[in-house]
């Protein structure tokens, strides 16, 4: 469960933001893990390859050891993130659409709740990267007239995503409003 957005400290602690109703697809964990592995692999490979090359060219200089150290320094946190992040994200990421609004929660360490009213929605897109395709997942992105107000639901089942996008498009077309 994501921690409910509550105020334990202040006097106005009576209001709380409840998490959105729907979780994303379970396959998203595998997707985020493989994405983390890819990024980590690149981040570790660069200094490691450099270490091998430098070690081969100047075996006595000691630079290779520094580069191996750097690779290890990168590898440890990268591995930790790859192990922890997907589970954590899965527990946090949630989404919900009502007749009036779209509501999402995303992130893991830094968490962000976003709300946009249907009447202000300009476009509804679904995207599928190659990695997402591998897991049969899609991202639904909803934009408003604000340059910073886009909502995205990451890690939905592809068919579900298409259905959500279709429904959102229908509702926004039926809703009065110039979307500005």
């Amino acid at each position: 469960m994501p921690t409910p957005l509550a105020d334990q400290a202040g006097a106005g602690g009576q209001v709380r933001l409840r998490p959105p109703r729907n979780r994303v697809d379970r396959r998203a964990i595998a997707y985020w893990t493989s994405r983390g592995l890819l990024v980590s692999a690149v981040a570790v490979t660069v200094p490691a390859v450099a270490a091998v090359v430098v070690g081969g060219l100047t075996p006595t200089s000691g630079w290779a050891d520094w580069l191996w150290g750097l690779a290890a320094l990168v590898a440890l946190p990268a591995l930790a993130v790859t192990l922890v992040m997907p589970q954590w994200r899965y527990r946090v990421h949630r989404w919900e659409t009502t007749d009036d609004a779209v509501y999402t929660l995303a992130g893991w360490l830094w968490q962000e709740w976003r709300v946009a009213p249907m009447s202000r929605i300009q476009t509804v897109d679904t995207q599928r990267g190659p990695l997402q395709r591998l897991f049969g997942l899609s991202t639904v992105t909803v934009t408003t007239a604000s340059a910073a107000g886009a909502l995205s639901i990451d890690g939905l089942d592809a068919e579900r995503a298409a259905a959500v996008a279709e429904r959102l498009t229908e509702v926004t077309q039926a809703t009065e409003g110039d979307a500005t």
């Binding site: 106005g12 709380r16 976003r114 709300v115 946009a116 408003t144 007239a145 910073a148």
Partner: protein, 520 residues
């Protein structure tokens, strides 16, 4: 679109730019190429290089003919027209471009008159749709048309762009010719020019750069002034000269900034036009007119950046779509969003209240003490980090005998000097935080050096973002963002108490957040 004016329908012919643009081009060519070439020819003739004395003006003449010819071609091949639905422009010498803007999309018609174009009665017209500030395809520039044509275009295009169907026709007719003046320049306001943001950002680096590059010369000159020749300067004289130079460049910088400020803001006038736009006209030599559609005005911003806050000054800026990003390449000396120069704070509040009716600046709700604690902790980390870096430097220099040794007490000096500054900064940032709500507006204040209060129309808020970092979760804080269709797209209440912030968001836009809230 309500009733088309008959004269506008008929006016669908293609127009050309002002023929005077050719004249202006010719004058520029004569001034920049002809005269120097002639002077060079005379000098060469006097020196005795007769062949060169003939060739130089010949080459200059060829170049001038080519340039003037290009100007003529450009004039002949640039056309624009305004039809009932669109504004179109055809231009380009070799590759032709046809730019067409739907009139209902036109958000801004800005006029600029550079100083050289004034005697010729010309002005440049920039028509923008404000769709995206990054590409140029949404912008149509006519350089140059006659000032009368420019003003006519501004009135016609904006009148069409912003019809107010709700307003009764009689009322619109009555308002048609009246443009109430919301603010006008007062001579006393020029005093803030020495530190006004745009001019200061240009003037001081320029003067400091100039002083630095001529420092050797200036130094020698100063030495000769104070000391008899041949005498070696003492340390006191050197310090005195350096201080004098520094003070002198600050004074010169202030004068330059002041001059730029006066040039930019003389004849400043903020008016509400009958076509539903706010119009800022200003300029002493180079004139500028910027129109901001009130329908696109999401709010105003009261900016109180630091050096001038100490002198009680503030500026007003518009928060509207289509004004481009902050620091964009079109920002120039005075950003397009500016609604006022630096003025006394009460005046700025008054101007803001007139530009955005109902905006009033009372006391805002302060953020909880946990927000202050966060800022103090950050300041502490920065100070310790700085002192730590100094210690590392000391260790490094003592390990290498080749480097000049840095004494250990310098770390203590760094610590003692930076700690109060960091603490004051933290306190200032905390003091900068605040939020509030009035009948029609949402107030969000933040910032230490560039402190500003955003006043947003409550119905311009088109969504919320609520962000919490791990440390904010521990402290019971959240950063509440109101998304708007302008600028960067969001204004933040940073580090508000979570419950307080949510209550603010719920009240500001009724109904939007309510279904997702729980109460105890």
């Amino acid at each position: 679109m309500t009733g088309l004016d008959i004269e506008e329908i008929q006016d669908t012919r293609w127009h050309r730019l002002s023929p005077l643009t050719i004249g202006a081009g010719a004058i520029a060519v004569v001034a920049l190429i002809g005269l120097p070439a002639l002077a060079a020819a005379v000098i060469l003739a006097l020196v005795g290089l007769l062949l060169w004395a003939v060739l130089t003006p010949l080459a200059a003449a060829l170049l001038s003919v080519a340039l003037v010819g290009t100007a003529v071609l450009r004039y002949r091949r640039t056309h624009y027209r305004v039809t009932g639905e669109r504004m179109e422009m055809r231009s380009g010498l070799l590759s032709r471009t046809h730019l067409s803007l739907p009139r209902e999309r036109i958000r801004s018609v800005d006029l600029a008159t550079p100083v050289w174009a004034r005697p010729l009665g010309l002005c440049q017209v920039t028509v923008g749709t404000g769709q995206s500030s990054h590409s140029h395809s949404d912008e149509l520039k006519l350089a140059y048309v006659s000032a009368a044509d420019g003003d006519r275009l501004r009135r016609d295009l904006l009148a069409r762009a912003a019809p107010s169907p709700q307003a009764p026709t009689a009322q619109r007719q009555a308002r048609r010719n009246a443009s109430p003046v919301l603010a006008e320049m007062r001579p006393a306001w020029f005093g803030y020019g020495f530190a006004a943001q745009g001019p200061a950002a240009v003037a001081y680096p320029m003067v400091v750069g100039g002083t630095a590059s001529f420092s050797e010369l200036l130094f020698q000159w100063a030495l000769r002034l104070y000391l008899p020749t041949g005498q070696a300067p003492g340390i006191g004289a050197v310090v005195a000269i350096v201080l004098t130079l520094a003070a002198g460049s600050v004074v010169v910088g202030a004068v330059v900034a002041m001059v730029l400020h006066i040039e930019a803001w003389s004849n400043y006038r903020l008016t509400r036009e009958p076509d539903g736009t706010l119009r800022v006209t200003r300029g002493l030599l180079n004139l500028s007119s910027v129109s901001i559609e009130e329908r696109r005005l999401r709010g105003v911003r009261l900016c109180t950046p630091l050096p001038l806050r100490w002198f009680g000054a503030a500026t007003v800026a518009a928060i509207a779509s289509g004004l481009g990003q902050e620091g964009g390449k079109n920002s120039g000396l005075v950003p397009k969003r500016s609604l006022s120069p630096d003025v006394p704070r009460e005046e700025a509040e008054r101007i803001a209240g007139r530009a955005l009716p109902g905006a009033a600046f009372g006391t805002l709700t302060a953020h909880p003490s946990a927000a202050l604690r966060r800022r103090l902790v950050r300041a502490g980390v920065a100070v310790v980090g700085l002192a730590g870096a100094t210690v590392a430097l000391v260790l490094l220099t003592s390990a290498h005998s080749r480097l000049p040794e840095v004494p250990l007490w310098s770390a203590a000096v760094v610590f003692v000097l930076s700690a109060p500054i960091a603490a004051l900064y933290a306190w200032g940032s905390y003091r900068g935080l605040g939020h509030g709500l009035s009948e029609r507006h949402l107030y969000l204040r933040r910032g230490m050096l560039a402190r500003s209060t955003a006043v947003l129309n409550r119905d311009a808020v088109i969504g919320w973002t609520i962000r919490r970092s791990p440390l904010q979760r521990r402290a019971g804080l959240a950063t509440i963002g109101a998304t708007i269709a302008a600028d960067e797209g969001v204004c933040h209440a940073v580090d508000a108490a979570t419950g307080q912030g949510l209550a603010l968001a719920e009240e500001a836009v009724p109904g939007l957040l309510t279904p997702f809230l729980e109460r105890d």
